[in-house]
């Protein structure tokens, strides 16, 4: 019996490796936001797929073996970085058996390298502060300016890997940046009358968005990052919201609405499910629609509650 098992295993281990065609660059990203930006700058010269979905919490993605198969065939892996994926990406990369996408290898792109990162701790960090990210807040893509920087990061990598297509990628990047600039101008105009509107968010997912579009985040439903709401903190938050007359609570689609709704009832604030990612709801199919949707939702709500 031992012999048969040994033979079987031997045969399986020596089975031929699937041939891989040299064609379009196969780009994997960890989130749908990065996938959307990669699609903008790579056009039809690349194939793109995201590991996580926009409606799931990017901190807690399951390291499913089916992702190993996808990473095995990837030429490029684009990650959000700043330790956002630390809980699930390392084992996937390790088991991918793909030397191209190991951290530090040619096909590994940390999209945060040129981005403007907020909330970088300036003092000792301990987990008493909750699940803090020692390298700064990883939700930096919620700012069109950072979108452009991420686009450049990806376009440069694609150009490096396919020098013959460099002009194409740079042209696509220039086009993406121009359209994003135009859209950003429009979004800023939409938000301009409501500059300084005070809001509360569930998790710290929106600092870059708030800074760019002039929202004032005065508190969080979570007492500390990654720590679920506690009664005492909720009470304090309600009092603070009443004192400052805060009329909006922004919640990511993957959080439970029970506590935010209770806060809404107590304070008269409106609870908005604000997707922080492409794919957060079906209508948001790309990076532009993400801001279109979020800003429309915000402006409509602010008008309704008359908040300031």
């Amino acid at each position: 019996m031992t012999r048969y098992v040994a033979w079987l295993l031997g045969a399986l281990l020596l089975a031929p490796v699937a041939a891989r065609a040299q064609g379009k660059l196969n780009v994997m990203t960890t989130t749908e936001d990065l996938a959307s930006i990669a699609r903008e700058v790579g056009g039809d010269h690349i194939t793109v797929e995201s590991i996580s979905r926009g409606y799931q919490d990017p901190h807690f993605v399951e390291a499913k073996p089916s992702f190993i198969l996808k990473l095995q065939k990837a030429d490029v892996l684009v990650v959000v970085g700043r330790e956002l994926e630390i809980g699930w990406l390392p084992p996937l990369i390790q088991q991918s058996r793909n030397s191209k996408i190991q951290p530090g290898a040619e096909g590994y792109v940390d999209a945060s390298m040129q981005a403007s990162i907020l909330e970088v701790p300036t003092a000792q960090v301990t987990r008493a502060m909750g699940d803090v990210h020692p390298l700064g807040n990883p939700h930096y893509w919620m700012d069109p300016e950072n979108g452009k920087r991420v686009g450049k990061e990806i376009a440069d990598k694609l150009s490096q890997l396919r020098p013959a297509d460099k002009a194409f990628f740079q042209q696509k990047l220039a086009d993406f940046s121009t359209r994003l600039d135009a859209a950003e101008k429009r979004w800023l105009e939409q938000m301009a009358p409501y500059k300084g509107t005070k809001v509360v968010t569930y998790h710290r997912s929106f600092p870059n968005f708030a800074e760019r579009f002039g929202l004032d985040i005065i508190g969080y439903v979570e007492p500390k990052p990654g720590i679920p709401p506690s009664p005492q903190h909720t009470l304090d938050l309600i009092n603070e919201m009443k004192r400052q007359n805060v009329k909006l609570v922004l919640v990511e689609p993957y959080f439970d609405l029970k506590t935010p709704n209770a806060i809404g009832r107590e304070t008269g604030a409106q609870v908005l499910v604000l997707p922080p990612s492409v794919g957060g709801i079906i209508e948001i199919t790309d990076f532009f629609k993400l801001f279109d949707y979020d800003i429309n939702l915000l402006v409509t709500a602010i008008k309704q509650v008359g908040a300031k």
């Binding site: 098992v5 403007s116 907020l118 390298l135």
Partner: protein, 445 residues
């Protein structure tokens, strides 16, 4: 600084050369060409002068500033970008950042050599405290014990490998639980490990204590697969993905020295033990999936050790066969709050002994449901024959409640009833307190 200037000059010259031929084609007169070159040379001299002046002024400014050299960020860029650490060279590695300044270069104390601490491995320590109440005459555990403190050290070795060490400090001393190097760059997609490791036999055998959803290990593991440490031995492991269009399929082959607790005993070099594992995985939907495994293992057992004479009855071997199945459900959008894992393993043991072959069977079936963000409940049914006497069968049932204050700690209570073959039944309540510090480990799947 000088190098930068030289580089700038060189690149300017290169640029000029690249431009020149284009102009030559445009205007064919050599006179015009010469003028063109003279003009270029003048421009170049002017640029060089300007560049040099700017550099000297910068240098003097830097010298005057005295303090830590601030990264020269182009003033035109968004000022917020300055807050971000500059690209790779000055990047502070994950985990070490909190101790020093927030951004930029690492502080170096004493000589420049101490910068090598950035290469320290990711370290973590997980404490596992156990308590027990009730009566158990067969396998009594103490009322309270610091069962295990597991230290992990993990880092990349070089461009070709990474290393993982797991050392556990228990009541009886220090145990090297696992220590292996993983070769990531081998051709043919072979994932190779060399060192001491938990063998790929089934599911529970591969898991460390802190990842289990119980405070103990199932009866079948205790009776047939070497107890708490399981098959954990020094050897070589090779795993490969089998390409096919339908699902994830991985084959693993492992060769070990042949010493694993009371399961395998090696008396000479050729007494190796072997483990083979085939794992299939398939996504049923984006929120549910199924994981199937078949395992085989063989090695020499310790039955011969009881015979005083020079082993007259030949080698005694143990062969193990295993089947494991796991069903997982986790809705993506509410993954923080609800999930279910159902799991079962069947194991058949065939153990040669002086009194004949013992063919024993055992299994467990378990289910764990996540009720809310911090609460889990679970149950497990156990049944297993004893490896050395298949006529003796132990059975058990457990109910478990787990509370997670955060990702980094958990409190657990387990009611366990065990019906032993030759002793009175045991009713126990087991407690567990787990806490981890250090590097953020990956969540188990």
């Amino acid at each position: 600084m000088r190098a930068t200037r030289l580089f700038a000059c060189a690149s300017l010259i290169a640029g000029a050369c690249a431009l020149a031929p284009a102009n030559a084609f445009a205007q064919e007169s050599p006179q015009a060409l010469r003028q063109e070159i003279d003009q270029l040379r003048k421009d170049f001299e002017a640029l060089k002068q300007q560049y040099g002046d700017r550099l000297t002024s910068l240098e003097s400014k830097l010298a005057a500033a005295e303090g830590p050299p601030a990264p020269a960020v182009p003033p035109t860029e968004a000022p917020a970008a300055a807050a971000a650490p500059t690209p790779p060279a000055a990047q502070v590695p994950p985990g070490t950042e909190g101790a020093g300044g927030a951004a930029g270069a690492l502080p170096t104390y004493g000589s420049a050599v101490s910068g090598s601490k950035v290469f320290n491995p990711d370290m973590a320590m997980i404490g596992d405290f156990l308590g027990a109440a009730g009566r158990n005459t067969v396998n009594p555990s103490p009322a309270m014990e610091m069962h295990e403190s597991e230290m992990s050290l993990q880092a990349v070795v070089d461009p070709y490998a990474r290393a993982d060490f797991f050392v556990s400090f228990g009541e009886e001393g220090v145990n090297l639980e696992e220590a292996f190097v993983t070769l990531t760059e081998l051709p043919g997609g072979l994932l190779t490990r060399v060192g001491k490791m938990r063998a790929a036999f089934g599911k529970v055998n591969t898991l460390h204590n802190h990842i289990l959803s119980w405070t103990d290990r199932p009866l079948v593991t205790q009776n047939l697969v070497g107890g708490e440490d399981g098959i954990d031995d020094a050897g070589v492991s090779v795993a490969r993905l089998i390409p096919n269009p339908w699902f994830f399929l991985e084959a693993t082959g492992q060769v070990f020295r042949g010493d694993s607790g009371d399961l395998y005993k090696s008396s000479k070099r050729s007494d190796l033990s072997y483990v083979g594992h085939l794992r299939g995985y398939h996504d049923i939907s984006e929120s549910s999936n199924i994981d199937l495994g078949f395992s085989y293992s063989s090695g020499h057992n310790d039955a011969a050790a009881n015979i005083v004479n020079e082993n007259p009855l030949g080698d005694f071997k143990t062969q193990l066969y295993g089947v494991d199945a796991t069903f997982r459900w986790k809705p993506l959008q509410r993954s923080l709050y609800h999930s279910f894992i159902g799991r079962s393993e069947f194991i058949w043991s065939r153990r040669d002994q002086p009194n004949g072959l013992q063919a024993s069977t055992g299994f467990y079936v378990s289910g764990d449901y996540q009720v809310g963000r911090r609460w889990y409940t679970g149950a497990r049914l156990d049944r297993s024959d004893r490896a050395t006497d298949s006529s003796l069968t132990d059975t058990g049932a457990s109910f478990i409640v787990t509370y997670w204050p955060s990702e980094f700690s958990q409190v657990r209570a387990q009611y366990r009833r065990t019906n032993y073959a030759l002793a009175e039944s045991a009713n126990e309540i087991l407690f567990q307190f787990q806490f981890s510090i250090g590097a953020h480990g990956a969540h188990p799947f």
